[in-house]
């Protein structure tokens, strides 16, 4: 029998209203921290992990998030404070990053108030807005989201890394865990920016997350940088677009216990892309890996080629991986050719050059859609498709966040397509009859009778 030696201590159970999370910073406390001039009020704990804990705080009337590190994390990553300081001075590459805004350190007085009584530091950032959910919700199939939004999210992700890499920085540890999505728009947020470093300097300890790490990092042949970011970015885009993993095919089925050594084999020692055109030995299993088999045929050839480039030649040759700009171009082009299947209503992406496309979902032939011809490119007339400044001026960067126009279905007659003027300028629409009408900002015009729309950015031609 377990000995029942008398003891003074009573094992009072935790009461239900007493959470067992052990917040390092006492909720409700006001702390004077080094790095900010006003006292910081701890409103509530938001979450915690093995690195530290995140709190909602108020500083000088502004609500912010504070990530506070555990001393063990700081001890493992001696350059953390220096990297954070440099990131804060460099400022965010784009508004897709929940970037560190200020470094705060425990002052002498504040240490007394900390629950562990140990000096530490953290950084302030914006609170994550409501409406953004973890990308794992999409990959796990818990989210109502359309292909349009998933392709947009992938574009925004590539765009964010484009901006980061252009600043000479690298992220090192992108994975599903630090990406958030807004399902209605496809907008993204990248969190946990504390491993960001100057590319090639290697002033950090993180290697990445298995499954997202490039093989040369997992195998210890190289240190993480912009080239390994390109591998992780391709994995993340693949997982968003297919809800599957690019390297888990039949070879995974041979693994009984998926543990560390098994992951090392799959992702490091013997990686093989499941859709490698030259080696079919790791194709998805028709039962276990059905997600990959259903989703892969959806996407246009240029996107598939970037995956092949990154996961075939680029697997062992980091210089050959698809670049952020290539991803942006291929994803933006796919959005331009988005078409709705008249039979099943599913979103499809047939190439304009395809003479007899079939719907990936129902297999029906897709009749040639109406197209909007622009000075640079063409956009299929399908509800939700948008015209952007780069369609009119090839010198402008690819941007999706400020559309000039959007194709919309008429609210009472879904077959009637119009183009809504989202710009701040009036358009002139030219009808087949030769008449002209003005389309003011916010108005939509029926596309059916039009031959041309003249906008200050350039002309939109509608071939009959």
């Amino acid at each position: 029998m377990g000995s029942a030696r008398p003891s003074a201590r009573v094992w009072r159970p935790e009461t239900p209203n007493q959470p067992s999370v052990n917040w390092i910073l006492p909720e409700g406390a006001s702390l004077d921290l080094e790095g900010i001039s006003s006292p910081l009020q701890v409103l509530r704990g938001l979450g915690g992990g093995t690195q530290g804990q995140v709190f909602e705080v108020e500083v000088a009337g502004e609500r912010l998030a504070l990530k506070w590190y555990l001393p063990a994390c700081i001890a493992r990553d001696p350059h953390l404070e220096r990297r954070l300081g440099e990131s804060i001075r460099a400022t965010a590459p784009s508004d897709a990053f929940l970037w560190p805004l200020a470094l705060v350190k425990s002052s002498q007085g504040a240490v007394q108030l900390l629950r562990r009584g140990e000096p530490s530091f953290g950084y302030l950032m914006e609170l994550r807005p409501t409406g953004f959910v973890g990308a794992h919700e999409h990959v796990g199939g818990h989210l109502a989201i359309g292909l349009l939004q998933v392709l947009r999210a992938s574009f925004f992700l590539a765009e964010a890394f484009h901006a980061l890499h252009l600043k000479g920085l690298c992220y090192k540890d992108i994975s599903l865990g630090n990406l958030f999505l807004e399902p209605s728009s496809g907008r993204i947020l990248i969190c946990d920016n504390d491993n960001v470093d100057v590319d090639g300097r290697d002033l950090g300890s993180v290697l990445g997350t298995p499954g997202f790490m490039a093989p040369e990092i997992l195998m210890g042949r190289a240190r993480p940088g912009a080239n390994s970011d390109l591998f992780s970015l391709a994995v993340l885009i693949f997982r968003l677009l297919t809800r599957h993993d690019p390297l888990r095919g039949r070879r995974e089925l041979a693994i009984r216990c998926l543990d560390e050594p098994a992951r090392r084999r799959l992702y490091g020692e013997e990686p093989l892309f499941i859709f490698d055109p030259a080696d079919p030995s790791n194709r998805p299993d028709p039962i276990e890996h059905v997600a990959a088999l259903i989703t892969w045929p959806i996407y246009p050839e240029p996107i598939k080629q970037l995956f092949e480039q990154t996961f075939c030649t680029g697997l062992q040759d980091p210089q050959r991986r698809a670049l952020t700009g290539q991803w942006m171009a291929a994803l933006a082009a796919a959005l331009d050719q988005r078409q709705i299947c008249a039979s099943c209503g599913q979103e499809t992406f047939p190439a304009p050059s395809d003479p007899a496309p079939l719907c990936w979902s129902c297999g029906c032939p897709m009749p040639p859609p109406g197209r909007l011809l622009l000075p640079h490119g063409q956009v299929t007339a399908a509800p939700g498709n948008e015209l952007h400044a780069h369609h009119f001026d090839s010198l402008l960067p690819l941007r999706l966040n400020q559309p000039l126009a959007r194709v919309e279905a008429h609210p009472s007659d879904g077959d009637l397509l119009g183009l809504r003027n989202l710009s701040g300028h009036s358009w002139q629409a030219e009808l087949r009859t030769g008449n002209r009408v003005m389309v003011e900002p916010g108005q939509a015009c029926n596309l059916a009778p039009l031959v041309r729309i003249t906008t200050p950015a350039g002309a939109v031609e509608l071939p009959s």
């Binding site: 029998m1 000995s3 159970p13 109502a144 888990r248 543990d259 997600a291």
Partner: protein, 260 residues
């Protein structure tokens, strides 16, 4: 139009509590503390399960006193789990409990493909039956060898030797991977002995709840979806274990250096 109705293929992750329900657990409210700690940990465990699309977390529980019996026999998805209270009374048939666990880790009923199981042994005393035979039976199963095996000692009367045998030898040797003693200059020396590869000493309801929560969230996360890797973390076991939860600076909680 919605994204195609598909999702990432997942593997089962079997999580098994092995709970001491001997008579001594009735003293000082220990069994109530354990029931409450497990119940409180379930929402966090469900959240981790949801965040890990690669895993289907299935929970079971064995209780042992005069005999070992399944307290929760059906592998139950954590989202559906309602914890029924364990009752204390009897002696400590820990070896028999390990045999019960061994029986479900053989294939079948164990699936052909899975994530490493997580086994959590919680005890406040010494086994009264043939522990060595039970452990030997368990460790004949390949899934038991691959499992993450954790042990929580409730109070200071638990037999930490047998709990350490259940865990296996500490591959980190002296210092655990997660803890860097003296890094802050303020870590009490005895705390540098804390390691997930050693029995976790829970000496109050608060520390018990923390360890149960850690096992059901951080460890489940590590076993189902890999976490960020740091350089220089050295050779790892088949599943690298996350850092232990930070402890409160509660002078009544850690009563001094632990003797092994």
């Amino acid at each position: 139009m919605p994204f195609p109705n598909v999702r990432l293929a997942n593997r089962p992750l079997h999580f098994i509590y092995i709970c001491d329900c001997s008579g001594s657990m009735a003293a000082q409210g220990k069994i109530q503390a354990l029931n409450q700690a497990i119940r409180q940990s379930l929402p966090g465990m469900a959240e981790v399960a949801r965040q890990n699309p690669e895993a289907r977390v299935l929970v079971r529980a064995v209780s042992f006193a005069d005999r070992a019996v399944w307290h929760l026999e059906q592998p139950t998805e954590v989202q559906q789990l309602q914890w029924l209270d364990l009752q204390a009374g009897g002696i400590t048939a820990m070896g028999e409990a390990l045999e019960l666990v061994a029986a479900v880790l053989q294939s079948p009923p164990m699936e052909e493909r899975a994530l490493p199981p997580v086994l959590v042994l919680i005890s406040d005393g010494q086994p009264t039956d043939d522990f060595d035979a039970g452990l030997a039976r368990l460790m004949r199963e390949p899934w038991a060898q691959k499992a993450v095996r954790l042990a929580i000692a409730m109070g200071h009367d638990a037999d930490t030797e047998v709990l350490q045998q259940f865990i296996g030898s500490d591959p980190g040797g002296g210092l655990p991977a997660g803890e860097i003693p003296g890094a802050s200059g303020q870590t009490p020396l005895h705390r540098s002995g804390r390691s997930p590869r050693r029995p976790l000493q829970a000496s109050s309801a608060t520390s018990l709840a923390q360890y149960i929560q850690w096992a059901s969230t951080a460890v489940v996360g590590a076993a189902s979806m890999p976490a960020s890797r740091m350089a220089g973390s050295g050779p790892q076991a088949n599943i690298p274990l996350p850092d232990l939860p930070p402890t409160l600076m509660d002078p009544t909680d850690d009563v001094g250096p632990l003797v092994w």
